[in-house]
């Protein structure tokens, strides 16, 4: 209570400074009048009271307003001194802007990925995403997944205990707005009716759908749309309710528009929400209803943690139920170790391991911080150099009675002001850099809001203030040290030795941090090169794949399609620039198919998790894609529609697994049943990658001729091997496919395109580190240059004397350059130690190169040294050109 009284008093003095001053004046006047009455003499009373103006001022200084006023004076003074030195100001502002900009841009991305909760959601902190830890992966390494089927969901609802506190949904970012493959794509979510009340998502128009409309078997085709979708597709029409939107061939009646703040709970905002009951099950889901299928595992679940429930308890109950379900529904291969793990609403703060690109994003803040430190070191350096020049000014101020703490505050204010000014261009840079980063990290997400929002602006100013204080305090503390008399007497040129030691220390720091970044960039560049040089079993940069997709019910009969594709293939093969054309059931590394088989002593059932996969390919497929035959030969006959020979080609891994120590060629494989006819192995090919560029264990693969044994009757994809650039072949194939199947939509990919995501983490690391390392190098260059040239300017007199005494110019040059090089060498030593320590943080992101790789570090060090020499050349040249006469006279 009393404390509040004090606060009220302070606030009153702050808000009404005039009234406060009036009160104090009146009080003092009253005091003196009373005293004069008692003493009988006004003069005596005045003496008794002391200097009234001084005490009034003292009282004023005690108020917040007084402190604020002093700060304003400091700011005005700082502003004047900033304007007086535009060159210096520009340099400091640019350096700081660079540091703040990099940090703001990286924060913009980190905020998006890991910090900010989705908009329009009520109490996001009590919402949970269900993650499941599985132990049945092919390589035996546990992995996390959010994927659920409906039977699992029902068990999880029972574990939570209240179905209204849960929601099931599945997001699909490539739904067709219509039934034709040519129709534009939209992003939709199939969600249970309680999705909206659970999230607290409100509508701005109409309503959301009810449980009755989301009943399986009698689902109603209604949809709720986002406000953005209303703007873009209905022109912001508010009579949109009752209109229809076609999704995958079904017309949905729009019944509600969501609040503009809500765009779903994923990074990619959604356009349309539809009842879960309206989802169409894929053809391979057996039984009447997909909700009984354990293979329809494409759903994610949310629940809200109520008071009195704990994550641990729900996880425990859910885990027990799911394990029991596994034993009942998958008696063959139950995952009896699976664990349910509740995670926050924010997808990437869950238990799942981050992918390489996201991991790099999370390291970004560290890199940005290093840039900030380098920038601050540079600014401190510039400020120190200036402080030496301003020593005279400071001494006079101190001599005139300015207190030292006030001087420190004054100088800190100056830097703070510079930093805040720098935040403005930094934010401009960050809004550009943030969207570039966003696009680099998440190319698949289409963003609608600007990269820089309120939170980023606040962060930028926060970090600007921090940087301003950091960079301002050090020189300010330094500059209030000089003794008055000495500084007043001495010429402003003679600087303190300890100060230049500090300045050299800062350059060493910069060089060390820069070396660290350069090492990082070198490591990523080498990793990228290593990954790109992995032999994946395909001539990836020469391959183009193409097929045609049809709307439901418009596809030609399989035989017609097959013949057509073969025809297009032979026509394309005749074109210049296309070396060969083959056919396959799917693009390599983009799909899988299994087929049970039996051999004399073994069967596909004996393969635990890495079941062999089958591909239907034409005889020239191996030569076309660049897969080498190790033994034997490819299929006999031609891919001409005649009945295919009963032949198989297996890969090396499968041959070794099935017939260890024996010759695979000539062996029999029986498909589906042991009694089916023998398919003879005619060749063994090298292992090709199946899931990714980096695959520790080779996948088991076998190949059969087109039209043989497979469930899919046709080989739908054409493979072109091109001689030159892929563009011409792509265009030719698209034209040919469109001509042949006018109803369909050709889809064409180059293998390079398909593989790009595989190389992305390394490319990303290489790009980011190189860009940031380059910036740091420039800043370090400026730092070395300014320190060395400042040293030269200070020693003009000495150089003049030495030249007059006949010193060799080359000696002077060597000495000056040596000074720059010495600082950098010290920096390199420190930097190597730092890089060795920090290497662990990126070690998991590298490939084929050790985080302590000496060659990379040596190259980075060499680069630093070159920069040191370059930075010192100009000052050295200037030192050698000192005119002895004028240098001596200037003293």
């Amino acid at each position: 209570m009393s404390r509040l009284l004090g606060l009220r008093h302070r606030l009153r003095a702050l808000l009404f400074p005039r009234a406060h001053a009036r009160d104090v004046a009146e009080e003092m006047r009253f005091h003196m009048e009373l005293d004069a009455m008692h003493q009988g003499d006004a003069k005596e009373a005045a003496l008794h009271f002391g200097n009234r103006t001084y005490y009034q001022e003292e009282v004023r200084r005690m108020t917040w307003y007084g402190a604020f006023d002093a700060a304003r004076q400091d700011a005005r003074f700082a502003w004047r001194s900033i304007l007086r030195n535009p060159g210096f100001t520009a340099m400091v502002v640019l350096t700081l802007a660079l540091g703040i900009g990099v940090n703001a841009a990286s924060f913009a991305v980190l905020d998006l990925l890991f910090l900010r909760n989705p908009g329009g959601v009520e109490q996001p902190e009590t919402l949970r995403r269900v993650h499941i830890e599985h132990f049945n992966s092919g390589d035996g390494i546990p992995f996390f997944s959010q994927a659920l089927n409906h039977p699992m969901y029902r068990e999880l609802v029972a574990a939570v205990g209240d179905s209204t506190k849960t929601a099931l949904f599945t997001a699909d970012n490539a739904l067709r707005m219509g039934r034709h493959p040519r129709d534009p794509r939209i992003r939709g979510v199939y969600a249970s009716a309680n999705y909206f009340p659970l999230l607290g998502a409100r509508t701005s128009l109409g309503r959301t759908y009810t449980n009755d409309e989301d009943r399986l078997g009698s689902g109603v085709a209604v949809a709720v749309i986002s406000d953005r979708f209303r703007q873009s597709h209905f022109g912001g029409d508010s009579s949109v309710i009752g209109q229809t939107v076609n999704v995958e061939g079904t017309s949905f009646r729009v019944i509600g528009v969501l609040d503009p703040a809500f765009g779903g709970i994923d990074l990619q905002s959604s356009d349309v929400w539809m009842p879960l009951a309206m989802i169409s099950a894929p053809s391979w889901v057996k039984g009447p209803w997909w909700n009984e299928s354990i293979n329809m595992t494409r759903f994610q679940m949310l629940y809200r943690l109520d008071d009195g429930m704990s994550d641990g308890l729900i996880a425990l109950r859910a885990t027990q139920r799911l394990r029991a379900l596994q034993r009942a529904s998958r008696p063959k291969r139950p995952d009896t170790l699976m664990n349910v793990i509740p995670g926050p609403l924010h997808e990437w703060r869950g238990p799942a391991k981050l992918g390489g690109d996201l991991l790099i994003a999370s390291r970004l803040s560290g890199v940005a911080l290093i840039v900030m430190l380098i920038a601050c070191a540079n600014v401190i350096n510039l400020l120190l150099a200036r402080a030496v020049r301003r020593r005279h000014e400071f001494s006079i101020r101190l001599a005139l009675g300015m207190s030292r703490s006030r001087l420190v505050r004054l100088l800190a204010t100056e830097t703070l002001l510079l930093a805040v000014i720098a935040a403005v261009p930094a934010l401009l840079a960050a809004s550009w850099g943030g969207s570039v980063l966003r696009a680099l990290l998440l190319p698949q997400v289409e963003f609608h809001e600007a990269a820089v929002g309120v939170r980023v602006v606040a962060f930028a100013f926060g970090i600007a203030v921090a940087a301003g204080l950091l960079a301002g305090i050090v020189p300010a503390l330094q500059s209030h040290r000089p003794d008055l008399a000495g500084a007043l007497k001495a010429s402003p040129r003679s600087g303190g030795a300890h100060r230049s030691r500090l300045r050299r220390g800062l350059v060493v720091t910069q060089a060390a941090l820069t070396l660290m970044l350069l090492t990082g960039s070198g490591l990523f560049v080498r990793s990228l090169r290593n990954v790109q040089s992995i032999d994946i079993g395909f001539d990836s940069n020469r391959l183009v794949f193409g097929t045609t997709r049809f709307a439901k019910g418009e596809a030609p009969p399989p035989a017609v399609f097959d013949a057509g594709m073969r025809d297009v293939g032979s026509r394309l093969e005749a074109r210049a620039g296309i070396e060969s054309v083959a056919r396959t059931s799917f693009e390599p590394m983009q799909g899988l198919m299994w087929l049970d088989f039996f051999t004399a002593r073994d069967s596909s059932g004996s393969f635990e998790h890495s079941t062999p996969t089958i591909s239907n390919v034409s005889p020239n497929f191996f030569a076309t894609v660049g897969m080498r035959l190790i033994r034997g030969q490819t299929f006999s006959g031609r891919d001409d529609g005649s009945s295919p020979p009963h032949e198989v080609v297996v890969n090396d891994a499968l041959a070794t697994r099935l017939w260890p120590g024996a010759e695979a060629i000539g062996q029999c494989m029986h498909f589906r049943t042991r009694e089916s006819p023998c398919h003879r192995v005619v060749g063994v090919v090298e292992n090709a990658r199946q899931n990714g560029v980096i695959e520790e264990i080779a996948a088991y693969q076998f190949y059969v001729p087109v039209g043989l044994a497979a469930q899919q009757p046709v080989s739908s994809t054409l493979v072109l091997r091109v001689a030159g650039p892929t563009d011409a072949a792509t265009t030719a194939m698209r034209a040919a496919l469109r001509e042949l199947f006018p109803a369909g939509e050709p889809t064409i990919h180059t293998m390079t395109e398909n593989l790009e995501p595989e190389y992305r983490p390394w490319r990303l690391g290489a790009t980011l580190f190189t860009a940031v390392g380059g910036l740091a190098l420039v800043v370090a260059l400026i730092g070395i240059y300014s320190t060395v040239s400042y040293g030269v300017a200070q020693r003009t007199h000495e150089f003049g004397v030495r030249i007059a005494l006949g010193a060799q110019l080359t000696d002077l040059v060597r000495q000056v350059i040596g000074e720059g090089v010495r600082m950098v060498v010290a920096g390199i030593v420190v930097g190597v130690l730092l890089a060795l320590a920090a290497g662990q943080l990126i070690a998991t992101l590298l490939y084929g190169v050790d985080a302590r790789d000496p060659v990379t570090m040596a190259s980075a060090a060499l680069l630093m040294l070159c920069v040191a020499v370059i930075a010192a050349i100009v000052p050295a040249w200037r030192a050698s050109r000192v005119d002895p006469v004028s240098a001596l006279r200037a003293e």
Partner: protein, 119 residues
């Protein structure tokens, strides 16, 4: 620009910090205006603690900022407008702490002096 000296009792000749204690002690007797506080301190010390009376006002401002005393404008017995200061509960507590700290200090000093005369 004024020197930013923040020692609590400038130009007082008192031990640093004692003026606050004296003011609190005086106000613990009842609500008084500034002049009365000054008079009380001066009289009850038989004129020994003669400080520049103006130095009282920064002290009063500081005590108010800390919520140790509060003030209100009122009328004196002669009908003149004056600001009256009252000690708060927090101020009472603070006064108790300061007095016991001061006692300890006095005791320590007198012990040192006592031993010095004995030797």
């Amino acid at each position: 620009m004024s020197p930013s000296d923040s020692s609590p009792t400038p130009k007082s000749g008192l031990l640093p910090g004692t003026l606050d204690m004296l003011v609190l002690r005086t106000l613990s007797l009842g609500s008084l205006h500034g002049y009365a506080v000054a008079q009380h301190i001066e009289r009850s010390s038989d004129g020994a603690l003669r400080v520049e009376q103006g130095s009282l006002y920064p002290a009063l401002e500081r005590l108010q900022n800390g919520g140790l005393i509060s003030s209100k404008w009122g009328k004196t017995s002669t009908g003149r407008r004056a600001r009256f200061y009252t000690i708060t509960a927090r101020g009472e507590k603070q006064l108790g702490r300061e007095i016991s700290a001061f006692d300890n200090l006095l005791l320590a000093i007198s012990r040192v002096l006592g031993r010095a005369t004995e030797a």
